[in-house]
Every structure is written in C-alpha cells, then in structure tokens.
C-alpha cells in the first residue's frame, strides 16, 4: 500500500511538469524536400512524403514540358507544403499547373497555398482507382483550382478563393467525396462547381459567383451535377448534395442536376431557381428567394 501511495505521488509530480506544446510540424516525416530541377520543374518519381520547406515561385511555364511545376510520376506520393505557398511565375507564357499527375493513384496534396496558376491541381488516374486526397489547401486567384478524375477520391477542407476562369472545382469518376470546403469568389460565366458520377458533396459553403445577366441560362448554375456519368459502365449513379450553404449572386441558379441527384438539408439563399432539371428534393432544404 505504501509503495502504491508513493507511486501516485511520483506520478502526480511528473504530471505537473509542463507538456511540450504542439509545434509546427517537423520535417522528420518527409522523404525529401521539394526542389526544382535544372529546367525549373519538379518530378516526384518516388513514393513517399515530399515537403516544402519554404515558399516557392514556380519556374517559367513556356512549353508543355515546363508548364507542370510539380509532376508526380509515381503512386503513393504525398505533396505536403506544410503551410508554404507556390506562386506561378509571372513570366509564364504557357498555362501553368502547380501540381499534376496522370495515370497514377493515391496521390495526396495537402497544406499548400496556390496562387496564379491556370490549373492549380490536376490529378487524373489510370484504369485503377485514383484514391486521391486534396485537403487543407488554400487556392487564390487561379484560373481553375482543382481538376480531379479518379474514383474513391476526397477533396476536403480547402479554401478556394477568387477563381478567375471556368470552373473552380471539377470532379469526375465514381465514389468521390467533396467535404467541408469553402468556395468564395469566381468570375467566369459557366459553372462554379462541376461534379460527375456518384459524388457526395457535403458541408461546403459557396458564394461570390459573378453576377449573371438578365437572361437566365440554365447553365449559369453554381453547381452542375451529372450523375449519369458512368465511366466504368457499372450502372446508374446517385449523387448526394447535402448540408451545404449556397448563397446566390444576382441572376444565378443554384444546382443543376442530371441523373439521380439527391438534394437534402441545404440552405440555398437567393437564387432565381434553386434546383433545376433532375434534382430530387429529399427534404429539409431551405430555399429562400
């Protein structure tokens, strides 16, 4: 008993010692540090976690060979910017891309700030599933923010601000999830968000679409969902749009649907038409003029 009591005293003494504060993430978990090659671009051809240790200005994009600043050519690669930024080079004459991959799977892009790119992140899988993850990034003043084509992927926790051209987010293939992102500011005349396949779009906030004109085109919608897109030919798809907040700009529509698109528990505020074409109102949507 005495030993036990003394043990408690010792533990309490130790517990009183201050715990180390959670610190800025270490670089220890990084396979390597991202550095551009002689031609000004980065090729990640080895699996692992590749990190930024400072802000980068991308190389000059002057051809198809140099437009992709970080080109991922292996599976199982994580690009972890650890809060640092990648800014496009103002001398670029070719539409620059910050991070891209083609025919790969399980590529992660996290913790980055992207600014000034034609496409910030474009990830396309091969015949196998993509299983991409794009999370906790900030996109600012890019022509288009994210293009993702790969089944079983997630776009989560990103802030996508002031997109200047075409779509802010384009997601294709099956079983993808777009969760808890903020989309704010977009100046093109087509869709803000383009979703294809059986996507789950949940918990997102959208506002700041460019004002429409008096003539209302059905295509001037904040979100366009095409659940009929069936790249693997495995049957009808069902897309789910739930628990989102959509705030309209003048003369804009909310959600335009093709195929089975279930819409539930959203707030759609101020649209000319909140749900158009094939949207299936599953209830608890707050639609206000």
């Amino acid at each position: 008993m005495r030993a036990f009591v003394l043990g408690i005293v010792a533990v309490l003494a130790l517990a009183g010692a201050p715990r180390p504060a959670a610190a800025t993430p270490s670089m220890d978990a990084c396979t390597g540090i991202i550095e551009p090659g002689a031609n000004g671009v980065v090729v990640l051809d080895t699996p692992g976690t590749w990190c930024l240790d400072r802000d980068h200005v991308a190389g000059v994009a002057s051809s198809s060979a140099t437009r992709r600043y970080i080109n991922v050519t292996a599976d199982d690669v994580t690009v972890d910017c650890r809060g640092h930024r990648i800014t496009s080079n103002p001398a670029s004459t070719y539409d620059p891309i910050a991070v891209s991959t083609s025919g790969r799977s399980r590529v992660v892009v996290r913790g980055c700030g992207f600014e000034g790119f034609g496409w910030a992140v474009t990830l396309e899988s091969g015949p196998a599933t993509g299983q991409f993850l794009v999370e906790d990034n900030e996109f600012r003043h890019n022509g288009r923010a994210i293009n993702l084509n790969g089944a079983g992927s997630i776009v989560r926790g990103n802030r996508i601000l002031d997109t200047d051209h075409e779509v802010a987010l384009q997601v294709s293939d099956g079983g993808n999830r777009v969760l808890d992102n903020v989309f704010d500011g977009w100046t093109d005349a087509s869709f803000f968000i383009w979703l294809r396949g059986d996507v789950e779009f949940r918990g997102n906030t959208l506002r700041g679409m460019q004002d429409g004109v008096v003539y209302i085109s059905p295509y001037r919608s904040m979100i366009y969902v095409d659940a009929t897109d069936d790249p693997h030919g495995d049957g009808d798809h069902v897309a789910t749009i739930s628990d989102n907040i959509l705030v309209a700009s003048p003369y804009t529509n909310g959600i335009s649907c093709g195929g089975q698109v279930h819409v539930a528990d959203n707030v759609l505020d101020g649209f000319v038409e909140a749900l158009i074409y094939d949207c299936i109102d599953q209830g608890d949507n707050d639609i206000s003029p």
Partner: protein, 285 residues
C-alpha cells in the same frame, strides 16, 4: 523496489500519449522566431513562438507588417495582463494586409486579443487559438474572405476604456465556424455585450458556434449573435444561451434573407429577430 516498479508503471500509463496525441516536434518550417515583445514581423512566411512571452507595454505585442504571414504560436502564450485593464493594448495586430494567419496562440490580457484591420485586407485565417481575459474584444477581424475557426474565447470584457465587450467581431465577408465564446461581460456601466457580432457580412456564415456566459451590463440588452447590415447570411447549428435578462435577443439578423437553421437558442426573451427561420431551431425563452 516495489515502490519504483509501481511508480514506473503508473508514470508510463499516465504519460503515454493517448490515441491521436502528437509528440513535441521541431520548428523546421519556421521562417523566423518571435523572441521578445513587442515584435514586428515584416517578412512573409511562418513565424513561430518557442516560449511564453509577456509585456506590460501599450500598443501591439506582435505587429504583422506584411501580407502572407502566418503566426504559429505552437501553443505558447502572449500575455499583456501586466499592462492593466485600462490599457489600450493589442495582442496580435495587422492593418491593411492580406492572408494573415494566426494559429495555436494563447492570447491573454489585451484590450484587443487578435485584431486584423482593414477593408482593403482580407483572406485572413484565425484558428485554434485560446483567448482569455481580453478586456474589450477577443477577436476583431476585417476583410473579405476571412475565416475564424475553432477558437476558444473566454472571459472577455472589463476594460475601463469602454463599457462594450465582444467575443468575436467580424466585418466584411467572414465565416465564423466552430468557435466557443464563453463569458462576455462589461465593466459595470451600460454597454454592448455581444457574443458574436458581424457587420457588412453579406453572404457570410456563422456555423457550429457555442455562445454562453454573457452578463448584461447596465440597461443594454444582451445579444448572443448580432448581424448588422449583413444580408443573406446563413447561421446553422449554433448554440446560444443567455441569462434571461430583459430585452435580450439570441440571434439578430438584418432581414429574413438571412437564414437560421438547426440552432438552439435559450435564455433570451427574443430568440430570433428579423431572421428567416429555416427550420429545426429550438427556441426557448
């Protein structure tokens, strides 16, 4: 021997990190370190704290004089308590900057805990901070495209310079998400006691916040969440509680174009004022 064994076992059980805990990590990603107060950051990048810092000076403890700056306090504290409740001091301050992030800070004892000013600025991020004992404003933020997320703001108020106290004050388009505002009180004379206040926040969102512990000052009614000149806001899943004092309003909107949904409002004679009721709200006086 038995004592050593039992002490060792218990110590291990107590000190082993629980699932999800992170061990101490390095500062490799820091552009620079804030070593003393007051301090001015003039270079973009990530600036870190590696220890608690305090100051008795008026003015700003940390001034951010550049855009694209992240201040990561790594859990350490910035303390201005020594300046007293009559001080016009600020914990972290910026003006007219873009993309300033303040995270993982403990901020205590300033008239303005974190203040990011400027209509021409914006895209700020204030997250994962603990603010306590600040005497007029816990967080004061201006600028479109800003996000105030997952902060604890407690015991705000008591300044002798002004009777007003605000837990979170946001101007222009801002999302205020998953914060806890606990304890907002004045200095005894009539003044605005407001948990979350937004101004010119058209299209902004207030989601998932908890507001409680508001203490009425004088004759001015309590306001849990007040949105002024802010149309088309969306307020979802907020829990707001008052003290039942006369005239209090749980959530105030500019017009019914602002929607309130899935919120619990209690302890206010008026639950919702001028808001559109989007459903599943639980309102109890």
């Amino acid at each position: 021997m038995k004592f050593l064994a039992s002490a060792a076992l218990l110590a291990l059980a107590f000190l082993l990190p629980t699932s999800g805990a992170r061990a101490a990590e390095s500062y490799d990603a820091c552009t620079g370190t804030v070593t003393t107060l007051p301090f001015t950051i003039s270079t973009p990048g990530t600036w870190c704290l590696k220890q608690d810092l305090s100051t008795a000076a008026s003015g700003a403890a940390i001034t951010v004089n550049a855009s694209n700056v992240t201040l990561d306090c790594n859990g350490f504290r910035i303390d201005g308590t020594a300046a007293g409740i009559g001080a016009a001091n600020r914990g972290v301050a910026a003006s007219g900057r873009l993309n300033v992030a303040v995270r993982n800070c403990q901020v205590r004892g300033f008239q303005y805990g974190i203040v990011l000013l400027g209509a021409t600025g914006g895209d700020h991020l204030v997250e994962h901070n603990r603010l306590s004992g600040n005497t007029s404003f816990g967080i004061f933020i201006e600028g479109d495209g800003s996000l105030v997320r997952d902060n604890q703001v407690s015991m705000t108020g008591g300044s002798t310079l002004t009777p007003h106290a605000y837990g979170i004050y946001a101007r222009y388009i801002t999302d205020i998400v998953d914060n806890t505002v606990s304890g907002v009180a004045g200095n005894g004379t009539s003044g605005n006691i407001i948990g979350i206040f937004t101004l010119n926040n058209t299209g902004g969102t207030v989601v998932g916040n908890r507001v409680h512990g508001l203490v009425k000052a004088g004759t001015t009614p309590l306001r849990g969440i007040l949105n002024n000149q802010s149309s088309r806001m969306v307020l979802v899943r907020n829990n707001v509680s008052g003290d039942g004092s006369a005239g209090g309003v749980g959530i105030t909107c500019t017009s019914s174009g602002s929607r309130v949904k899935d919120s619990v409002v209690s302890g206010f004679p008026t639950g919702l004022s001028a808001c559109g009721d989007a459903g599943r709200n639980d309102i109890t006086p």
